[in-house]
Amino acid sequence: MNHALMLSMAADRLVRFPGRTILMGLAFLTAVYPTTLLQMLGGGAIEALNRFVGQVYPVDTVSLYPVGTETLTLADIEAVLAEVPELRDWDPVVEAGRRDLKAEGQAARVRVVGWSERAARVGRRGVTAGGFLSAGDVRMRAGVALIGSSTARRLFGDASPIGRRFTIDALAFEVKGVLEPFGVDPHGDDQDDLIVLPYTTLMERLLRVGTVTGARFLVDDAARVEPAAARLTWALAARRGLAPGQPNQFNLRTPAIVTEEVARVSRLFAGFTLAMGLVTALAAAKLVAGLMLAMVAERTAELGLRKALGARPADLRRQILAEVAIVALCAAALGLLLAALTTDALTPWLAAAVGMRELDPSASTLAVGAGAALVAGLAAAWLPARRAAALDPVAALR
């Protein structure tokens, strides 16, 4: 019997017994849909994470954020710069946390950070309106600020914020520029809800501290980032009197380290998706195997008749496998479509919440979804198919 006729016969039986077909389809759907949805959402999250990491940690930078009891002073940074010639430029980061702002009757709680005039170069984030911080602003501890677009909208609506004034802890500031939009980070934090002050102003006039939160360094050659980071660590360790190899609390972030962390998250997620896919596929296969065994028992007379009429054992085996394969592929297609529709519906919310962009199922997602359903289905149907092929027609027709 040729394959086209076999498929047509299998499809015909599926259409004529819709209850069983739907039940089997649901088993596959419950495996394909959540796994594909998870795979698409996870893929989108990893993509958002990669994009975020690329923006925050450009390939030619090293970031230093001391942790625990460790602190970082401007003198430390000057010493490091003297010891590590690959460091071409630098910018301090001073975090003041979320502070209460007041502006023309409006109040808001906003994250406040301190940067230097070099942040545009080192951190690759300039302004879309007005001007950036100048060396003079930093030197003079000026009462000027850069404002994120979300904060600007909250405080000043759609009007231009340039030249507008606000206060933090009774200190007055004038908006000098609007920061380039960044979007939402993978944690859901709006990176445009931000006020940037000259770091000197923040340290000396607002926080009254002598240490910075961290520093970003620009390396003269992206290929020399890792050796520069190692030398930076040694220089700081030597300054703290630590022996080589002794534990330290200098948290250095290089593109390679961050990329590896993202890759680890990605692998963890892939493993989780695979495990979930396997569990759901096994559950679906178990259900389908049970259904098909019951079906073979229920269709004993029909299968026996087919044998009497000339069906070879292989014909019956193929028919059962074809029936399951058709349902598996149709359910997989439906599951993939539903997953795509769900992600479409979730995209606006995900974009606002965690910075995900529009999610399209990749060719590999489609292939894995359909392939897994097909393999699970065929594996589940193998035993029922063998039973059908081995039926004794005399007993079946009795």
Partner: protein
């Protein structure tokens, strides 16, 4: 056409006594014959039909169908031979549910890989007088009509041999008479017919009657000698 020599078939099941359904049956049936196999329940008639129809293998003896010894044939080869050479008619019709008469008749043609399965199935239905019922589902037909569909299915591949197991057992006398007339017409066209029955009146329509009792062939007579 059929040559059975010393055929025996014993059913063995764990915990149950052995049942010798056929015991050394030897029988020859020539092409174009119309033979009734007569016997009471449990006499081995259906087992004999299963063996002749290649649905069961004997434990002992030699079976030659169309000059071919079937003992060494694989399951695949038996299926092909069954499809091409034999048509079956069962007491319970065995039509596929939720399937039209035409689709039921198409089945053996599909397994034979016939491209003209639709035309042949229509022709077979027309030959049994059901040309206008082709698109009816089995449950929409009377018992007699369902058996006619089964006969159309049996002849669709133009087999040389038709095996009918109690084909009138579920029918009223009028429908049974119509079915027997149809068999007689097919036999007149040269089809070899073996009819399994326990009904003397039905057997009397055959030209030759073979009688089985307890798995043993006890008589083999032409019609004139019956009764």
């Amino acid at each position: 056409m059929i040559e059975l020599t010393g055929i025996s078939r014993t059913y063995r099941r764990a915990g149950l006594p052995e049942v010798a359904a056929l015991r050394g049956v030897s029988l020859g049936i020539g092409a174009g014959e119309f033979v009734a196999v007569l016997g009471p329940s449990g006499s081995g008639k259906s087992t004999l039909m299963a063996v002749m129809g290649l649905l069961d293998r004997p434990d002992a003896g030699i079976y030659r169908l169309r000059d071919q010894t079937v003992a060494g044939l694989s399951e695949e080869a038996l299926a092909t031979l069954r499809n091409r050479a034999i048509g079956f008619v069962f007491q319970a019709y065995h039509l596929l549910p939720r399937t039209t008469a035409l689709e039921n008749v198409q089945l053996p043609l599909l397994y034979a890989g016939r491209r003209d399965h639709r035309q042949r199935a229509r022709a077979a239905l027309a030959a049994v007088g059901l040309g206008d019922r082709a698109d009816h589902y089995a449950h929409e037909l009377s018992g007699g009509q369902q058996q006619r569909v089964a006969i159309a299915r049996a002849i669709a591949n133009e087999p040389a041999l038709i095996l009918a197991d109690e084909p009138t057992g579920n029918l009223d006398p009028a429908a049974a008479d119509g079915i027997m007339a149809l068999f007689e017409a097919l036999n007149a066209q040269g089809v070899t017919l073996v009819l399994i029955t326990h009904d003397e009146a039905v057997a009397a329509r055959a030209r030759r009657v073979v009688r089985l009792e307890a798995g043993v062939l006890v008589s083999d007579r032409v019609r004139e000698a019956v009764g």
